[in-house]
């Protein structure tokens, strides 16, 4: 061993024997950014997104913080650290494409549907046969799709009635209705991007991150069920025909009501064909 290495080993042993030096050394080793975050209220307001990201992972995700420290100690560049932070935060379920978005709060997806928007049908042409059951014809109105006033009431009623259906296919159809008619109760499913932008984003704190991740996880499940519901409709033409019939009956019931009561529950008994479970009648709002 060279004299230099011997000297280093002597210093290491000496530092480890002294409690204060050992603590200092432990901080330098395991928490080198401790001084960056001395001010509790400074949450990246100076625009330093990397500092904000480091602070978030230090406070809430020690496993990611450890990876960052290890990478830096192994000579990784700051760009590599940024990419690592983004990918690890995305693994938590938060859609963070770039650290630049961090100062704006926790980014949330917006899967909400604007039935009036023609672009929605360009990206989701497979839902056109479904919305046609509600009298919505995107092809006829290329710039601003006309949506009947009672479409949302009808869609929401069907969604509520099928929510607890014993057949999984119909429950998925309920999720499809909840997505299309914005009544799932999950804001990322019910709000489109523009509506979502009107809300104050959640700040990067542990409980908010957990909350956002739970919402996003639930939304991903809902979208998956809704897409299964769409497949269910595509593969069961009798169900699609029944949807047309039931919507027509709901519209008729709504049209018979006085104008001020048209937003109330239509209370229509819908009929659905037997598919797998053998149950062929579902009651809408029997109360």
């Amino acid at each position: 061993m060279s004299y230099l290495l011997e000297a280093q080993q002597l210093l290491i042993v000496g530092m480890s024997a002294d409690p204060v030096l050992c603590l200092t050394n432990a901080v330098a080793w395991l928490d080198p950014f401790w001084d960056e975050f001395a001010d509790e209220d400074d949450y990246g307001e100076d625009g330093d997104t990397l500092s904000l990201a480091l602070r978030v992972v230090r406070d809430s995700f020690p496993d990611i913080y450890v990876q960052v420290i290890e990478r830096l100690r192994n000579g990784s560049s700051w760009e590599e650290v940024e990419r690592l932070l983004c990918s690890e935060i995305e693994k938590l379920g938060i859609p963070l494409e770039n650290l630049e978005f961090m100062p704006y709060g926790i980014p949330m997806p917006a899967y909400g549907v604007a039935l009036e928007d023609p672009e929605f049908y360009q990206s989701h042409p497979d839902v056109i046969p479904v919305v046609q059951a509600f009298g919505i014809d995107p092809a006829a109105h290329p710039y601003q799709v006309e949506v009947p006033e009672c479409a949302h009431i009808a869609g929401q009623s069907i969604a509520a009635s099928l929510e607890d259906h014993p057949d999984e296919g119909y429950r998925n159809l309920s999720w499809l209705m909840q997505w299309l008619f914005s009544c799932s109760g999950n804001s990322t499913i019910d709000f489109d991007y523009e509506t979502m932008c009107e809300f104050q984003p959640l700040s990067w704190e542990q409980e908010n991150i957990d909350f956002a991740a739970a919402i996003i996880h639930e939304a991903d499940e809902i979208i998956s069920y809704a897409l299964n519901g769409l497949k269910f409709l595509q593969t069961h033409s009798s169900v699609l025909t029944a949807l047309h019939t039931n919507v027509r009956r709901i519209y008729k019931a709504i049209s018979k009501r006085p104008k001020e009561k048209r937003n109330d529950n239509p209370r229509v008994r819908c009929v659905w064909p037997s598919v797998a479970s053998g149950i062929d009648r579902t009651t809408l709002a029997c109360a």
């Binding site: 061993m1 024997a17 603590l23 050394n25 432990a26 395991l30 230090r58 450890v66």
Partner: protein, 89 residues
């Protein structure tokens, strides 16, 4: 209940008796120092142990900072029975 008097000397003695804090990170450093190593810090530590050590250290730093803030906000205690002759000079 009798009056408890705390003097500067007794306070110093009291603080001197407090055992140095033992953190996992410090233990790992001590264990590492027993073997010749290339760098300043031990290597080959399991990820789970690193995470535990970092979590503990970050928590300790936070508690220490909080304690320091609390102490800095303590109200001054007037020592009415103490005569400081040099003050007049």
């Amino acid at each position: 209940m009798g009056q408890v008097t705390l003097t500067l000397t007794s306070l110093r003695d009291c603080l001197a008796q407090v055992e140095p804090v033992t953190l996992l990170g410090m233990e790992l450093l001590k264990q590492g120092s027993l073997h010749p190593q290339v760098g300043w810090f031990p290597t080959g530590i399991a990820r789970s142990q690193m995470i535990e050590a970092v979590t503990e250290l970050v928590g300790y730093t936070r508690r220490s900072a909080y304690a320091a803030t609390q102490i800095s906000h303590l109200a001054a205690v007037p020592l009415t029975s103490l005569q400081l002759m040099e003050y007049g000079l």
